[in-house]
């Protein structure tokens, strides 16, 4: 994850379109009240779930005991391990490529600037939200029934679910693009498709690649979870080891995934530099960071994020007088890397052994399978599902609260313009990169073993995971603030704290709120899935319903989660507007 566009960038034109003057003060007050309510809900959930020092202290002995049963790690033979890794990478690569390919047209239809009609835009946005709401785990279970066993269900499940993120980010990115090129094509008489292909896609390419690489990383983690429902590769092996209480093998494989995740970050950093043709000698802002090898490594892993600032990824622009780009070394290199990606996809396709006929027969069966899911069965809603949904919400709220309490200070200290010294922000950036490497499911499993079953384990796992996600976003948005404002205050003799509060934080608040709500939204969906490993909430029923072939109830639960996620999305959009 590098140049993650903010999870919810402010749509350009929003401000200028607001010809209507809203009663700003009232709205702003309401927004603050909602924020306070959210914090209160977080604290209440934390208390309701009994997540406290006593619970954690209770488990210290178990942690030691677990470590004892986990060591020595037991790695499978090299050939076997390589086979698993190959399978996992093939599935993840194909899923990610699929999601990007499908997301581009959806994003074009959903974006304010390129969508043709209001109805079409809403439809595309709705599709994106729907894809986000249906957990890939459930999609995988469904596709297993439709397409049978093998790699295909996993690829399709991750690919479709990823549209929820990739499509959203690309749509937001399209809205943020410079409208000039498109207007020029339009003025020259280009049709809508030409406008998009010439005026939008080239500008969007860096975003597409960055988002794709980011999603690859997320899907790699997800593949571990999908192993629990039978998607092949390393996740399946982990699930099997954990089911048979073979922690030595299980944790050895988990460590392998961790290394894979970090390597992925390394490779994707290199890829982005090559493909996007960014100059390799960036002069880092600020002084050099102490700490030597580890910092250098973490820097490479995060594509220069530790020592550099956020880079503006722009393809090397052609000079103004030529209409065609020259075939210079950079461009040749970019095309070569593009060819490498295509070759990798082809290899992955072969390795995953996806059968086209199987896919086609599956497609033919899709309608009859879909009928199993309708109409939704509402019989268990009142008695069982509401209370469980509440538990899931509590887990998400508590995890977001704890995650924010942990992550915001870390993010502050990792931001170059807030941290007291380069050594401090360097240290915290390395910490964030390390935490990001650990898949949440692995955390959850460890916490289940250590703190026992139930909500505590799930919440703690998500809270730790939040540090990796939220800290980075917080640091990035603080660094994006307009430094002129800070300078102005400083020139007037403001102290460090005053500058931070009145300039940096004031500017970054809408983004911070958006990030925390994004985290809440992520956590609601993650909390659902952690039911897989016995972490409480509605996830248990989701899995149990699919296990006993009660798909009508699966639909009900997915709809309930969809409702919650939509409410959070709406709240996020409104809060961002109100706090601007």
């Amino acid at each position: 994850m590098h140049t993650l566009a903010r999870p919810a960038p402010q749509p350009a034109g929003e401000a200028s379109r607001a010809g209507v003057v809203r009663p700003r003060r009232l709205e702003s007050a309401a927004a603050k009240a909602v924020l306070v309510a959210l914090v209160a809900a977080g604290i209440w959930s934390t208390m309701a779930l009994q997540i406290n020092v006593a619970s954690i202290a209770d488990s210290a002995g178990n942690a030691v005991d677990f470590a004892g049963r986990m060591l020595p790690l037991d790695f499978p033979p090299v050939a076997e391990l390589a086979g698993m890794i190959g399978e996992t990478l093939a599935i993840v690569l194909l899923a990610t490529v699929l999601s990007v390919v499908l997301s581009i047209p959806v994003a074009v239809a959903a974006a304010e600037s390129t969508g043709r009609t209001r109805l079409g835009r809403s439809g595309a946005r709705g599709f994106i939200v729907l894809m986000r709401a249906i957990p890939d785990l459930i999609l995988a279970i469904v596709f297993f029934r439709v397409f049978g066993l093998g790699a295909l269900p996993g690829i399709l499940a991750m690919g479709l679910h990823s549209i929820g993120m990739v499509g959203k980010l690309l749509a937001d990115a399209i809205e943020d693009l410079d409208p000039g090129p498109r207007a020029a094509v339009q003025a020259a008489g280009g049709g809508r498709v030409q406008q998009v292909v010439v005026g939008v896609l080239p500008q969007l390419l860096p975003q597409i690649i960055a988002t794709g690489l980011h999603r690859f990383d997320i899907n790699l983690r997800t593949s571990v979870l999908l192993g629990y429902v039978g998607v092949g590769g390393i996740g399946l092996a982990i699930a099997e080891s954990m089911r048979t209480l073979d922690y030595r093998r299980g944790m050895a494989l988990a460590l392998t995934v961790l290394v894979l995740c970090i390597l992925t970050e390394l490779v994707s950093g290199a890829f982005r530099r090559r493909l996007l043709g960014t100059p390799r000698s960036r002069a880092p802002r600020g002084r050099s960071v102490g700490g030597g090898a580890l910092v250098g490594w973490a820097d490479r892993v995060s594509g220069g994020w530790v020592t550099g600032g956020r880079r503006q990824d722009r393809p090397g622009g052609a000079d103004g007088r030529r209409l065609s780009q020259p075939w210079d070394a950079d461009r040749v290199r970019r095309y070569l890397w593009g060819a490498v990606v295509v070759a990798l996809v082809f290899l992955a396709w072969r390795d995953a052994g996806v059968s086209v006929p199987g896919f086609l027969t599956g497609l033919a069966e899709l309608p009859s399978t879909a009928l199993l899911f309708f109409p939704p069965d509402l019989s268990a809603v009142a008695s069982t599902l509401w209370p469980e949904l509440l538990t899931t919400l509590q887990i998400a709220l508590a995890a977001t609260f704890l995650g924010a309490v942990l992550a915001v200070p870390i993010g502050l200290l990792a931001a170059r313009n807030v941290a007291p010294s380069p050594a401090v922000h360097g240290t915290f950036r390395v910490l964030i990169v390390l935490v990001r490497g650990v898949p949440e499911l692995i955390l959850a499993i460890v916490f289940v073993v250590v703190t026992g079953l139930g909500a505590v384990a799930g919440t703690l796992a998500l809270a730790i995971g939040a540090v990796g996600l939220l800290s980075k976003l917080v640091a990035d948005s603080l660094e994006e603030t307009d430094v002129a404002v800070q300078e102005a205050l400083r020139a007037n003799g403001a102290g460090r704290m005053q500058v931070f509060a009145a300039a940096t934080l004031r500017q970054a608040t809408p983004a911070l709120v958006a990030h925390v709500l994004y985290l809440l939204d992520t956590n609601v969906r993650a909390a659902t899935l952690l039911g897989v490993v016995g972490a409480g909430g509605i996830g248990y029923y989701l899995l149990n319903a699919s296990r006993i072939v009660d798909f009508a109830t699966v639909t009900t639960i997915v709809l309930m989660i969809l409702g919650v996620v939509l409410v959070i999305e709406g709240l996020a959009v409104w809060l961002r507007r109100a706090l601007r």
Partner: protein, 310 residues
């Protein structure tokens, strides 16, 4: 320190409020301190279960009356976490698969089986593992599985993997004589047979009825070619170390003598036998079992030397 600016003051106030709230939440009683005033009862759905909700309410109520303590019920999908919870002393009573019990016991977790469910009074608690093939495939017994694609559920499934391994071994077919397909779930195992992804499919004896009831398969689409010897039903076990003697005694007595429909009606927990729903659609109730009843599972382990057993 200089007097703070207004935004800084507000910011500090907000930070203080959040920290105070966090501190408030940080103090409090530990979650799940087993053996206290509440009993923790965790249950994993049985392999052959076909209901969304496990109706443990009458049993929970019964235990609560017998011990005078609150019984906290917890649904779990993953029995590995139940075993870990028992090991950590956080679960007092649990219901899980026969195989989970044996694993837990072998791993040194201090649990004893108390009862298992039966549909009629006096019956022996058992279910079966079965193998299906397509009617026209020419496969009539497990010996025919040699060289074929065989669908299992997952490596930790009693009726979907371990009992089948024993059955195959008895027919002279060992691992390596066939290509193993792990379907991931019981229904997927049978459906993979009809979709042509394997030639023999193992599952538990009630799956076909479930698939037929939900209209996904007609029962004559497949032929049963093997049935295992009876597998002991899921036990309810108690943790020897988290409960004091008096409480444990009360739990064991209640489960053995009153955890059945007639007794539950007599105790006023159920209004009538018709309205009394027990977990896993149990017809009558629970009957006493002891450790020796699970030797069948241990025998499977000895024969198959499956990884799951170690």
């Amino acid at each position: 320190m200089k007097r703070m600016s207004r935004p800084a003051r507000r910011l500090t106030a907000a930070a203080v409020a959040v920290v105070a709230g966090g501190t408030l939440a940080a103090c409090g009683q530990s979650a799940q301190a087993a053996g206290g005033d509440e009993l923790v009862f965790a249950a994993v759905p049985a392999e052959a279960s076909s209901t969304l909700e496990q109706s443990f309410e009458p049993i929970v109520e019964l235990l609560s009356q017998a011990t005078g303590k609150d019984v906290v019920f917890q649904n779990v999908t993953d029995y590995a976490s139940v075993i870990e919870g028992q090991r950590a002393g956080k679960i007092d009573i649990a219901s899980y698969g026969p195989f989970s019990y044996v694993i837990a016991r072998e791993a040194g977790v201090p649990v004893d089986p108390v009862v298992a469910s039966v549909d009629e009074e006096g019956a022996t608690p058992a279910y079966y593992s079965v193998a299906y093939a397509l009617p026209d495939s020419g496969i009539t017994d497990l010996a025919d599985a040699r060289g074929k694609r065989v669908c299992f559920v997952d490596r930790a499934s009693t009726s979907g993997f371990l009992a089948p391994l024993e059955g195959l071994a008895a027919a002279g077919v060992t691992q390596g004589d066939y290509s193993e397909v792990l379907a991931g779930s019981h229904d997927a195992s049978v459906l993979s047979l009809t979709s042509g992804q394997c030639d023999v499919a193992f599952t538990h004896s009630d799956m076909l009825a479930t698939l037929e009831r939900t209209g996904q398969l007609s029962s004559d689409a497949v032929t049963q070619v093997w049935r295992s010897s009876p597998l002991p039903e899921d036990p309810i076990v108690v943790n020897r170390e988290t409960l004091d003697d008096a409480t444990r005694e009360a739990v064991v007595t209640a489960l053995r003598e009153q955890a059945n429909k007639p007794a539950l009606v007599a105790a006023g927990i159920c209004a009538s036998e018709e309205e009394c729903t027990l977990p896993e659609e149990t017809g009558w109730g629970y009957t006493p079992v002891d450790d020796a009843d699970y030797d069948a599972v241990r025998r499977i382990c000895d024969v198959t030397k499956a990884e799951a057993c170690s």
